[in-house]
Amino acid sequence: MYQDISMVFSGAAGQGVQTITGALLHVLKKYGCNVFSCSEYMSRIRGGSNSTEIRITEKKRDAYVRRIDMLFALSHNVVEHLKDRISSKTLIFAEKEKFGDQWGDSCIDTPLTKFAVEAGSAGFSNIVAAGVVLGMFGIPLELFTAYLQVKFAAKGEEIATKNCIAAKLGYSFGRDTAATANISLQISIPAAMPERVLMDGSTALGIGAVAAGCNFISSYPMSPGTGLLTFLANRTKEYGIVVDQAEDEIAAINAGLGASYAGARAIVTTSGGGFDLMQEGVSLAGMIETPIVIHIGQRPGPATGLPTRTEQGDLNLALHAGHGDFARVIFSPGTLAEIIDTTQQAFNLAQRYQIPVFILTDQYLLESVSTIEAASVKRRTVETFLVKTTETYQRYAFTDDGLSPRGVPGYGDGLVRVDSDEHDENGLITESFDIRRRMVEKRLNRIRSLMETACMPTFIGSVDQAETLVISWGSNRWVLEEALDVLGNRAFGGIHFSQVFPLNPVINSLFENKRLFVMENNATGQFADLLSFETGRRISRKILKATGEPFTVEEVVDALHQSDHE
């Protein structure tokens, strides 16, 4: 009997793990379960050993767990690959005909290929596998066949029908197995479940960008940042988005700034290594006071690092990128809702303050799939701050708050002149020390307002009563929330930052008389150091991980448990 189940599907690249998990997530969501999945895979196109974890839970739990309750092994080396996560309680589902008895009594012989061939082709084995799971848990078969009918509609009735036969064969096997092995899922489904949407982080980012009025992207493919580029490229006509695949990241950000200068709402997407190349562009944005949104999907570095794995190691990079002094904002969303919302905020802030704004995500966040209530997906007003120019227009006119009205070429009677050299109010090169002093002040003046309006962090649990605050940013929000819940110790509270720079000065009062822990997916505690620097407070403990994997709920619980006994 399972109330919170962790299933892992593992095989070689190209074996169709995605087909199984895609179908299951969709059908289980339709049924009313809370589902979550995350994937880990090797940097190769075929072979190797990849896995996807699916969790089915009563309470919403969008976090990675180490524990594997059920493992579907689709290739030989799966168990070796996952041995650290397999326990005596793990049920292994595998085809004995293919893999023999190597996995002993805990292995349930699951003849996926046999059923698939019976349905018409060995290629249906992934559908059989999904059927087995749904059969075991007694999820109505009709939900699955309805999904298959829609999914394969374009391929003709025969293909759809054969898929349904495969599904049914797997389903019957699953139902019988559950009866024999006494397997059941004990999750209560609310009678009136609100409508929910199912998506991964990249999709949420894309929705956020479209909602924000994004109409220009030039980028160079790099995992895991490419998802956004693809999302927008597939919707150019529908939403009027100009998409350019750049020759390199330097070109990408300079094209983004050119487009933004001419009035586009531009974004670039990349990962840390690609962003390294963009840094001169960040500095240019600061100098010419031209808005740009920069998405960095983090992965482990230095250099090529682990291209398909996850890390939060590029905060310092985003924080310090670009030579010279200028203002910037860095968002670090940790949930689908936060991704959609902060992306919209990023565009509005970039326009309002004429600055580069960063969105820091990572492979784990971008490629994890979960649900969100449709009604909670909110659209922000698209704020534009463009003015129609007059003949006397000056792009860098001095103002009280340092923000000059922004015109674009071709709109009005004025000329819009921007310059990467230090410039006067007209945008012309100057070496006047007096103008330089005033321009520096002008560019930095906006920081005060950016700080005062910075997003407040989210509280998790009883922050007021807690003696220790555990702080997270970015993708660790759900894992922290679940770990605190599992720990059940009111001495611990959580604080999650979806904006890491600048920090709202108000946070200082939250930290009064608290012991502070920071958990982050990097080797040195980059946010802990930033927080300490900005608030002057000591961080008692850094909970860090930089193996290329996300945190598991279990290890965060263990880490906090230890601290409790220190």
Partner: protein, 294 residues
């Protein structure tokens, strides 16, 4: 001297900056003549300065837009082409002219040069090619001739010079020309054709650097340059390539024109409404987008 008489004979254009503006170029520099040719070309083409964006990178040549009364994007060294691309894609009604030097365009920005030609977007690129780095004080540029000595290349330049015309032709750039800044009138005519051309046009302009390049002087160019004959076939790409790699005489004029190449912005289906006029999603369209994931 010939060049001084040309500058003195000043034409008034809507692109002239106010008198007294501090021009950072050396006396006698070819930049002055090229500036005059470009402003006259823009004027004679009847271009509205409000719809003109002059784009450049960094270097002495890249200061040209400072001295032209129009919209200006004076970006980073080597990055004029990506910026110009973004501007044109965001608003194709704008006339986009890039001016930069040989170091900026063929060295720092070499990769962008290759891929801008592959895209074929409707912009004009005017390269001030003086075969030397001026602003950094006399080092070799990508177009410096082998053997030229500089403070950095004491034993002479060892690298084969970059041949911009041959490279452009290899990539099927649809408008390829070369001019000589010492001849303002004919340079102006070539620049006019380039700007009027609907597609990517490149004009490499020979231009003496009177301070740092003691090899490629006014006299040197005068002796070696000659205009393409009247009957030159501008549709013959292979022939143009042969002329571009010719060493004994350096040819001037329009080498190649190809109106058949499809423009990037047309292939993308970009309309005439600039992106700054885009309408954001309304609530209904937003809900529709979200509901795809139900």
């Amino acid at each position: 001297m010939h060049y001084i008489s040309q500058i003195m004979n000043k034409t008034v254009t809507p692109f002239d900056m106010p008198d007294g503006i501090d021009v950072a170029w050396c006396p006698g520099c070819g930049n002055h003549m090229l500036l005059k040719a470009v402003k006259s070309a823009l004027h004679e083409l009847g271009i509205d300065r409000k719809n003109l964006v002059m784009v450049s990178g960094i270097g002495q040549a890249a200061k040209s837009p400072q001295y032209i009364k129009a919209n200006m994007f004076n970006g980073l060294h080597g990055r004029s082409l990506p910026a110009a691309l973004g501007i044109k894609l965001a608003n194709r009604n704008l006339v986009v002219v890039v001016e930069s030097g040989d170091g900026d365009m063929y060295g720092e920005g070499g990769n962008h040069f290759l891929h801008a030609i592959r895209r074929n977007i409707d912009i004009t690129v005017i390269v001030h090619d003086n075969m030397v780095y001026g602003l950094t004080k006399g080092q070799a540029s990508p177009t410096s001739q082998r053997g030229m000595t500089t403070p950095l290349q004491e034993n002479g330049v060892m690298l084969e010079p970059f041949n911009p015309l041959a490279v452009a032709l290899a990539l099927n750039a649809p408008f390829v020309a070369r001019a000589y800044a010492g001849d303002v009138e004919r340079t102006k005519e070539i620049v006019k054709q380039a700007i009027a051309f609907k597609g990517f046009s490149i004009v490499d302009v020979f231009q003496p650097c009177v301070v740092f390049n003691k090899v490629n002087t006014y006299q040197w160019f005068k002796e070696r340059t000659v205009y393409l004959p009247e009957n030159h076939n501008v549709r013959d790409r292979t022939g143009a390539f042969g002329l571009a790699i010719q060493q004994d005489k350096l040819l001037l004029g329009v080498f190649y024109r190809n109106e058949q190449r499809e423009r990037y912005e047309d292939q993308m289906g970009i309309g005439t409404i600039p992106l700054y006029q885009s309408n954001p999603l309304d609530e209904e369209a937003f809900q529709k987008l979200v509901n795809n994931y139900l």
